[in-house]
Amino acid sequence: MARYGMVMNVKACLGCRACMAACSQWNQTPFWADEFEGKWRTRVTEVEDGKFPEVKRQFFPTICMQCVNPPCHSVCPTGATYINKDGIVLIDYDLCLGCGYCIEACPYDARYPYEREDLKKDAFYFGEDARHHQVHVDKCTFCVDRLEEGEEPSCVATCVGHARIFGDLDDPKSEAAQLVNSGQAKPLGEYMGAQPKVYYIK
């Protein structure tokens, strides 16, 4: 039993998007989709802050926040969305009705539909290793399969700028827990009550 969480150090993010590439390869997410904002488990968005001539450019990584009180789970009719023993919010593809309710309910825009065309593309690019065999709603799992092997999530493992700090929030010695406990890292949109476990240093 762990309580996995992540800290995003926005200041350290270079905007190279290596995390997006690594994630989409590992998890076979639709990197082939047309829209950039479309179907990613993790995204890095370019944001401009301030007014001319004081404009600051920043890169802002987002991901499923693995909420403690996840609205996506509350609305799921079939129990397809569930929370595992380590506090990771997962989807049982066999039970997913494909109603899209969770996509609407997630306040962090972390979910997207894995549609029929995506299945075809997945089979085309990955052949026998394809991991998606039915339509379903998809989102970040903190690479639960890698965690089981004792590895970090693929986005964390590839992050060039050490902008993604992953760890067990219950382990006071982990860097992630220290950043959270010291109050340096804060969650987004706390007022919505989802209690995210991804925190931000801005």
């Binding site: 802002f60 509350s74 009719p77 009705l97 494909g98 309910a105 539909p113 339509v135 949109g189």
Partner: protein, 289 residues
Amino acid sequence: MDLIQQHTWGWFIAIYLYLGGLGGATLALGILGELRFNKSKWFGIGTSLLGLAILSFGLIWLVFDLLNPLRFLLSFWVKGIAHSWIARGMVIIMGAYIFGLLYAVAAFFKWTTFKKWIGYAAMFCGFGVTTYTGLLLNANVGIPFWHTPALPVLFTVSAFSTGCAIIMWTLAGKNDHDSEHLFHAVEGFDIFLISLELLILFAYFDFARLGNAAVMKSAHLLLNNPLFTIGFIILGLVTPLILEAYASVKENSKGMAAFASLLVLVGGFLLRYLIVWAGVFQYPHGLAG
């Protein structure tokens, strides 16, 4: 601010929300009319079956909105009933079918006491269906224009108003005393409902005026959309209100009231469609402030 309109649900869901509310309200009002106004058994049977038919037609749209419509059978697996409005809705809808059909059978065979109690259960489920369509949207915490207790109230009142319109249509051609009596009772009830709807809308937009940026954006989108201001508010609410109020004090005015109910029916759909369309949320990077 990175505010954008949701794009997961579109007019398929809007049609479902509309027909679900309409079907549920027709079922509930039809049975109420039959039980309270001693209408003929065929009125009760007809309106309850009509309500269920409308509901069924609505469910088709919901099924076609699924990623894979063939998976609809999974919707009977309501493991999320403790917290999900789709799961709860499925149970309420099943209740509406079971009690509605039993009511029709009981009405046909004139099992009076059984019919009354089953009728109440069917009415309760019909009412439940109308309210749940609003609660369904309400659960989306990231879309603050939907995440307000006013939404289920608005949808319920609107659904009953459209239900009144259907009942008036079924009665418009009949000239016997009972039908006339019920027609005018429904007409009066509809005048009350439309007035209430206007009041709720006023409260809704007043809340939006003082709300956060996403709520304001939703309200702004609606108030700048002629489909909402002219289509829904003027033609779908104010005009039928005036027409029905006028018809209620005039003899031989059923035609006018029937026309007003047609406007109410169109307005009801526009309301669902536009509320779904105007669901605005904020990208997470916008939440960082």
